[in-house]
């Protein structure tokens, strides 16, 4: 930590004031003050955001209280609002996305971190990073014009005929729905899982691998049985990170989910997510209660992502501590 300007030995408040003034005259104190203000503004704006969300959702919070989370009805005319269909849709699509993305992502991360030569691994990671940069609306376009027709014409009928006895795959094949949204989300979050898992795997200390190999295990055994479990907290962290991203995704989901507040056991059913309903209804919510209910949904979404991100960071912290702890041992 660098030092500031020279300290004038003080005795009493007057000397203290004089020293402050002299510090002020030197550009450094002003610089410190100004940069402090900028840094503080970040904190202030974040607090203001949380405050606004809280205050603007006061109406439905007082009217519905906790039952907001358990009501299925969303009726703007009767001013009866329940968040359950949206929470359900948000969680289900995220769940489908993770179910698809996690195995694929961790597999790819293992390949990139452990099994592939550096010359292959680095360029591949570069492309994965680029995939993470593709904006949501691009995925939305692809979802509408490629994924939906594919789902409706081939994938959903195939699922129905082969797995239709499960309640998961019943109902008409609309093309849109939870499953479609889950697929689009899976593509969007895979890069996050790969990048973070790869870094975590790379940070596993060498001696772990070398010890395993020295004891006679194969490359794969040392990877799968030693390295991956060692890194598992970090990998969990990457999953939470990906989930947080999937929860907040708005545009791509609203273009493929069907926009119907339904709770259904079938993945082929259309549904709604919190972010999608806010995007569709916010600009037109007549009546203060409707707008405030949407803002309360926004608050719920914020809390969900907040918790997930917090958990992710905690797990990351635990991984790095573990890594450094063991290395020293």
């Amino acid at each position: 930590m660098a030092t500031s300007s020279i300290n004038v030995p003080s005795a009493g408040p007057v000397a203290g004031w004089r020293s402050f003034l002299s510090k002020l005259r030197s550009g450094d104190e002003i610089a410190r003050l100004i940069t402090f203000l900028f840094a503080a503004s970040v904190v202030l704006i974040t607090l203001l955001l949380i405050y606004e969300l809280w205050i603007d959702s006061a109406l439905p919070r007082h009217k519905f209280g906790l039952s907001f989370f358990f009501t299925r009805i969303w009726d703007p005319i009767a001013e009866n609002f329940g968040a359950l269909p949206f929470i359900y849709g948000t969680l289900v699509t995220a769940g489908v996305a993770l179910a698809l993305a996690v195995p694929l992502g961790i597999g790819a991360a293992i390949f990139l971190a452990e099994l592939a030569p550096q010359k292959l691994s680095d360029p591949l990671q570069f492309f994965i990073d680029l995939l993470a940069a593709v904006p949501s609306v691009i995925y939305g376009l692809l979802g509408v014009f490629i994924v939906i027709p594919m789902m409706r014409q081939w994938i959903q009928p195939a699922l129905k005929s082969s797995l239709g006895f499960l309640p998961l795959f019943q109902g008409p094949a609309y093309g849109v729905g939870f499953f479609t949204a889950g697929i689009v989300l899976a593509i969007m979050v895979i890069p996050y899982i790969i990048s973070v898992s790869r870094e975590v795997l790379l940070s596993v200390p060498r001696d772990q691998r070398e010890a395993a190999l020295a004891l006679g295990s194969t490359r794969w055994e040392s990877t799968w049985k030693i390295v991956v479990p060692f890194a598992r907290t970090g990998i969990m962290g990457s999953i939470f990170l990906a989930m947080a991203r999937a929860l907040g995704e708005t545009v791509a989901v609203s273009m493929v989910i069907g926009n119907t507040p339904t709770i259904s056991s079938s993945l082929l059913s259309p549904g709604y997510s919190i972010a999608a309903v806010i995007a569709n209804e916010f600009a037109e919510a007549t009546g203060d209660m409707h707008t405030a209910a949407l803002i309360e949904l926004g608050l719920v979404l914020f809390l969900l992502t907040f918790i997930l991100n917090g958990l992710a960071r905690l797990l990351m912290l635990l991984t790095t501590q573990r890594g450094s702890g063991t290395a020293q041992a």
């Binding site: 970040v42 692809l142 907040g248 991100n309």
Partner: protein
């Protein structure tokens, strides 16, 4: 097992090329001079272009940087050069929190703060939302890259009699310049594609948007609206616009990362 994981990696990477290829194929045919220079024509007619959306997006990004870059840059300087650990922790935590806020919620916030009190949709409202999203990226990266500058440089400068601020602006920042610039570029690329925060801040505009206080068209929102419409011509234009947007974002990302990898040894972002 090698093959299985290899296939996973291959699938993940090939998605990128598939996306690119599809856009080039579908959008490439519609990229013409009209697309870049003409305004949209009335609903249902064919032709026209997206000139106002392209300029609108550029304006939004310009204004967003005016909000996001100074806060991130100077805030990062504070964290790296001046602050104590406790304050740094709080600021970093707030920045990470802000980073994790879903973009639609940022849109709500911008609506409540800018659109509602001033009673109009505007470019500045949209830019405010985008700028907020840029702050955490610029802040954290500035701090990291400044940290990465070796102490020796700072100490040498101060040994020569330079004050702290002079040291920062003349020695440390220029040393970390590359990293910071690329961080700003990456932040811009990130918000350039954002649609949700613009839906009820900048709204949309059939025409040119004068100044900064009127609604404006923007590429992502126009793509969104056109994709959901039934008009074939609009679909065609959406592909073209998507190609332009995707191309620009990917190019910026590639350039930024290449610069980063060639720069002074600095920590990865």
């Amino acid at each position: 097992m090698l093959t299985m994981t290899g296939i996973c990696a291959l699938v993940a990477v090939s998605v990128l090329f598939f996306i690119l290829g599809y856009f080039v194929y579908n959008g490439g045919v519609s990229i013409n001079w009209d697309f870049f220079t003409k305004l949209p024509v009335p609903v249902g007619e064919t032709g026209g272009g997206m000139a106002n959306a392209i300029v609108g997006s550029a304006k939004l990004l310009l204004l967003a940087s005016l909000i996001g870059v100074p806060v991130g840059f100077f805030g990062g300087i504070y964290l790296a050069e001046f602050s104590g650990n406790k304050v740094a922790f709080v600021v970093r935590y707030a920045a990470d929190l802000l980073n994790g806020v879903p973009s639609i919620v940022i849109g709500i916030f911008a609506f409540a703060l800018v659109v509602h009190p001033f009673k109009r949709f505007s470019t500045i409202a949209g830019a405010f939302a985008l700028g907020l999203m840029m702050i955490p990226i610029t802040l954290r990266n500035t701090e990291e890259f400044l940290h990465g500058v070796p102490r020796a440089l700072r100490e040498g400068s101060m040994a020569l009699g330079a004050g702290k601020w002079t040291t920062i602006m003349r020695v440390v920042v220029p040393a970390a310049y590359r990293g910071i610039m690329t961080a700003i570029l990456l932040a811009l690329a990130r918000v350039a594609g954002e649609t949700a925060p613009l839906l009820f801040t900048a709204l949309g505009n059939q025409y040119w948007s004068p100044g900064w206080n009127q609604p404006t068209a923007s590429l992502p929102v126009v793509i969104y609206n056109y994709a959901l419409s039934p008009y074939e011509d609009w679909h065609r234009q959406a592909w073209a616009a998507g190609l332009v947007l995707l191309g620009l974002i990917l190019m910026v990302n590639i350039v930024a990362r290449v610069i980063l990898s060639r720069g002074i040894a600095v920590p990865r972002s």
